[in-house]
Amino acid sequence: MRSSLYKLYKHTEQIKTKVRGKTTPMGRFFLLMTFASTLFGLNTNATMLYQLAAILLSFLTVSYILSLRFSPHISITRNIPLSCSAGEKLSYTLILHNNGNKKEKGFIYREEEHRDLPTVAEFLQTPETYEKKRNIVDRKLKYYRWLWLIERKKKATLPRLEMQTILPGEMLEMDVYLTAEKRGYLHLQGYVIERYDPFGLFRTSVFFRKEKNILVLPKIYSITDLVFDGSRKYHRGGISTAGKYGDSEEFIALREFQAGDSIRHIDWKATARQEKPIIRQYQDEFFSRYGIILDTFTSLSDCPVFEEAVSIAASIVVKQNPGRSVVDLLFAGNTFVSTSTMGKGLAEQNHMLEILASVRTCQGKPFSELTGLVKSHANLLSGAVLIFITLDEQRKELLAYLQALQIPFRALLISSEEKKSQATIDALDLTSCITVISTLRTNQEILLP
């Protein structure tokens, strides 16, 4: 029954997409009116709906016939940037060239993205937010869930606008905008040039496959500075990986050469003055190294709370000064657990944002995988930010472990139900070390504890 519903909705959606691709809103209204007037106008003596139906049908027929053939003589070059931020408008330019020998006008340009429909598993397992409040029929039929999933699958608001009139051989520049709604890669399959028929009821379109990928970085929120109690205490690191930037060790003093010292460190001027080998004594650089531990463990493939958690992680990353400290991102994927490091020349901030743009939820793995990763990494960390999307005994255990090692940490619990989460925190007796961040308040400045 459920999969039948899925099939029904899927086929309906495919038909809807086809009809929308072929008709204009006016055309769809004409189709609807034609259907109604034909249905109720069968008795030609009772009403005059049949006359209306005859006119509407004639308009639709003429319109449809004229929409059958279309070959635009326009070539388009798109200058699309490689990345953008979710929720922000991305502007780019099109260069239009009329290759034909006649004036082209009234064409519509639109981008086409790769569009996924919800899968059966998603349809069956992802309940709509507040679905419990719907009536029993809606809950059983799950149509609103389907619509909600479709809406959630929408990755971007793509440009669709009327092109300027182009004379034969003319080349024009046009600015277009798109707004990516979701982080990750936005796959633009190509662009479409459309033309409306003379009555504006049907549209004919030609698709040009020109694939482009845009990396959509997570949303960045306004967030307060992250200050740890132990941040002034520098931790020994041994940052040999910074070799490409030269020696990063810090000079302390001169001393006499001892066997085994590196000849490279001999200070020749001092040796000449002292007439005995003097070497430069260096101290390894000490620096702070924070871990951002992102909780990816949820049964849902598309979880709004998780999205907020990623955005908050990205906001913390952006707020860090890469020259001052090293930031490790620790998270688990479906097939791996990962550590990524940035700062002090190790990697660019953008690299970590790219990772955050692509991070997905981890389903079917226990949270202990992440705990293991944190434990193996703990001796390097001078502080940690834990971003949880749920709270249980395993997460509590991780917090206890960090407390035992006296690693200062900030634990955030991202939640759409603030009161309920607060109650869970109280129940687990974690009130003093976890802060709830409501997904409803991310438009305000997020105050880190």
């Binding site: 005059m48 049949y50 006359q51 308009f59 027929t61």
Partner: protein
């Protein structure tokens, strides 16, 4: 989708013309299009839109109720669509006269009143125009202008929404092609419809004719009453001043052929005598009187009456006719009739005599009748005992049933009933009895009517439902027609057992429908006015609530504005202020008066304490002038005068 200017108004006017409401159409169009010229717009919130939606729903439901009460059910949808431009008027007005370009349709009606259920905002202009055009078409004016005007309107709409890749001449050329195609299409539809209708009529003429063209039941097919057995609808209500008649006769038939009873009697127009109709000569002793209420949707039909009825009168009966056999035809009456009928069971119509038809037996039924006659040896039984024998035969060997499931072994229904199944319903019993008696030389006729058996405690009346429709036989014995009912007497109970669970509920509503029908009849045409007034009052009340809410919001805003305005008060304190200004020490921007005065006082003593007291009085006068007494004003004036004198002396 763009709607051209004045398009909405044009569609409304078009609807007005087509539906015969020109003045309403023009008024509504002016109201809608005035929004283009009037700068007044309301700022409506989501709650306001929900209220307007609910208000529209109330109008819709009221209209629905009015239509259901006043128009035949089969026309209700048509009538509803016809008036939909007016029903939806509040929605379009809300859009045109609000600052929003879209409306929010939602409702606060229902169980969870606190939280409104709302849909996405939508532009209602185009749906409204579509409603107007559809309603105009539904009105069915048969005007020749309909086609060109619709073409013009749609062409106008498409002109502003056309594909810009094509030139205007091409557009107009295509419009003319479309017009030709459309005209051909509509003619094709008309011809096809006529053809299909004639074919359909030929195919089902018998059924169609009987169902819709024969209110007086000049013939009755076998099984017609069986269809009524499923309905528990109350059609007759009866009260009497004496014994209640058990059977109400409605029609009688003499000839039976091919499973159908036929009546050839012609009706004679009955003249009115003293506000009533004399059906039989008045008896020497007055009989009983029954008051019957009878639903008559077609406003014509056959009048149910007890045996021996001699006088009938009723305000809702207009014209009657009668056959020689006494059947009364209602030529003209109201849709619900109430009549008083006087009857005396023994009375008979002198010219109501049997004919050869009352002895005819169709040849194809003779085999069954003959077998029964032979089996019961009826030929040997004297005529006086014949009735009893036949009645006993049916009572002993036959059962009443509406569900005959056995196979047919004989060529006719009657044959199967008599010789094989031995179960059936009243039509079968009556037909069989009539033919058996005829076979034995007794003239009979088949009579249909109703059984009066159910008493309603709720209405305090006898009620007759459709399933109480009954058939029996009248046999001509000893110079008069005698009622012979061989159907087992348990049949009303058997049918009662099969009655719907919801029957009492239906009866309850039926009672209110009756009262409403009576109210309509009593008040003649005024009921429309009264109901319209009620609906207008209700809708006006709701409209007032919406308006009042908006007004109260405006009022609060105005009050808030009013509070910020202060009356200019002539205060003597301004002299002190002028004097201080004259010192040359200017007051800083936003500097409190007393701080300024204190600054001056530091440089040049100015009796700051006195100024402080006077300033307090001045403030009192300034902010609470209404409650400040004259004494305070005088005190302030005097104080200022004294201070000024001091200032003169000190040469400030």
């Amino acid at each position: 989708m763009r709607i051209p200017a004045f398009f909405t108004g044009a569609t409304v006017v078009f609807w007005g013309i087509e539906s015969g409401n020109i003045i309403i159409g023009i008024s509504v169009a002016l109201l809608l299009e005035a929004s283009n010229f009037i700068s007044i717009t309301w700022e409506l919130s989501e709650t306001d839109f929900v209220r307007i939606s609910d208000f529209t729903s109330v109008i819709f439901l009221s209209t629905l109720a009015l239509i259901l009460l006043n128009v035949e059910t089969r026309f209700f949808l048509k009538e509803l669509v016809k008036w939909s431009p007016l029903i939806n008027l509040p929605l379009i007005l809300a859009q045109l006269y609000s600052t929003n370009d879209k409306i929010i349709i939602g409702t606060r009606l229902g169980r969870k009143k606190k939280k409104a259920h709302v849909h996405k905002p939508m532009d209602f202009t185009f749906p409204y125009c579509a409603i107007c055009i559809l309603s105009a078409a539904i009105a069915n004016s048969r005007s020749l202008l309909f086609f060109p005007v619709v073409l013009l309107l749609l062409g106008w709409l498409l002109l502003v929404n056309r594909g810009k890749s094509f030139s205007l001449p091409i557009f107009f050329l295509l419009i003319s092609v479309t017009a030709g195609l459309g005209f051909a299409g509509l003619r094709g539809a008309e011809i096809s419809h006529d053809y299909l209708t004639s074919r359909f009529h030929k195919f089902v003429r018998g059924y169609y004719w009987e169902k819709f063209s024969d209110p007086f039941a000049t013939h009755l097919s076998f099984g017609s009453l069986r269809h009524l057995k499923n309905s528990s609808q109350i059609i007759i209500r009866l009260t009497t001043d004496g014994p209640t008649p058990i059977l109400l006769k409605q029609a009688s038939y003499s000839t039976f052929n091919k499973n159908t009873w036929h009546s050839k009697s012609s009706f004679i127009y009955l003249p009115v005598t003293n506000t009533g109709w004399q059906l039989l000569p008045k008896p020497s002793q007055t009989g009983n009187q029954a008051t019957i209420e009878f639903s008559l949707p077609k406003e014509k039909g056959l009048l149910p009456f007890p045996k021996g009825s001699y006088w009938v009168e009723g305000e809702t009966l207009f014209e009657l006719g009668q056959t020689p056999s006494g059947i009364i035809k209602i030529i003209d009456a109201a849709f619900h009739i109430t009549y008083k009928i006087q009857f005396k069971n023994e009375l008979k119509k002198e010219d109501d005599l049997p004919s050869f038809r009352n002895l005819q037996i169709p040849p194809d039924e003779d085999y069954a009748i003959s077998q029964i006659t032979e089996k019961l040896k009826l030929e040997t039984i004297p005529k006086d005992n014949l009735l009893t024998t036949v009645e006993d035969f049916f009572q002993k060997y036959f059962t009443y049933s509406l569900h005959i499931t056995r196979s047919n072994s004989y060529p006719t229904h009657l044959g199967n009933f008599l010789l094989k199944n031995r179960e059936g319903y009243c039509e079968m019993f009556a037909t069989a009895t009539a033919l058996i008696l005829r076979k034995n030389g007794i003239p009979t006729r088949y009579v249909t009517g109703f059984l009066v058996s159910e008493y309603s405690d709720f209405e305090n009346k006898y009620i007759v439902r459709q399933r109480h429709a009954h058939a029996w036989v009248e046999a001509f014995l000893d110079g008069s027609w005698v009622t012979v009912d061989t159907t087992p007497a348990t049949w009303p109970e058997i049918e009662q057992e099969e009655a719907s669970f919801f029957e009492p509920m239906r009866d309850f509503f039926s009672y209110f429908k009756l009262k409403y029908d009576q109210f309509r009849l009593q008040t003649e045409q005024r009921y429309n006015l009264i109901l319209s007034c009620i609906i207008i009052l209700l809708t006006a009340f709701l409209g007032f609530r919406v308006y009042h809410r908006m007004q109260s919001k405006n009022k609060i805003e105005q009050e808030m504005r009013a509070r910020k305005l202060f009356e200019e008060i002539a205060t003597p304190f301004s002299d002190i202020e002028n004097k201080l200004v004259a010192t040359g020490i200017s007051r800083g921007n936003g500097e409190p008066f007393m701080a300024w005065a204190a600054r001056i006082n530091d440089l040049q003593p100015i009796d700051l304490k006195d100024i402080g007291k006077l300033y307090t009085l001045h403030q009192k006068l300034r902010f609470d002038s209404k409650n400040t007494s004259n004494a305070v004003k005088i005190k302030l004036k005097a104080g200022v005068a004294i201070w000024l004198q001091h200032a003169e002396l000190k040469d400030i």
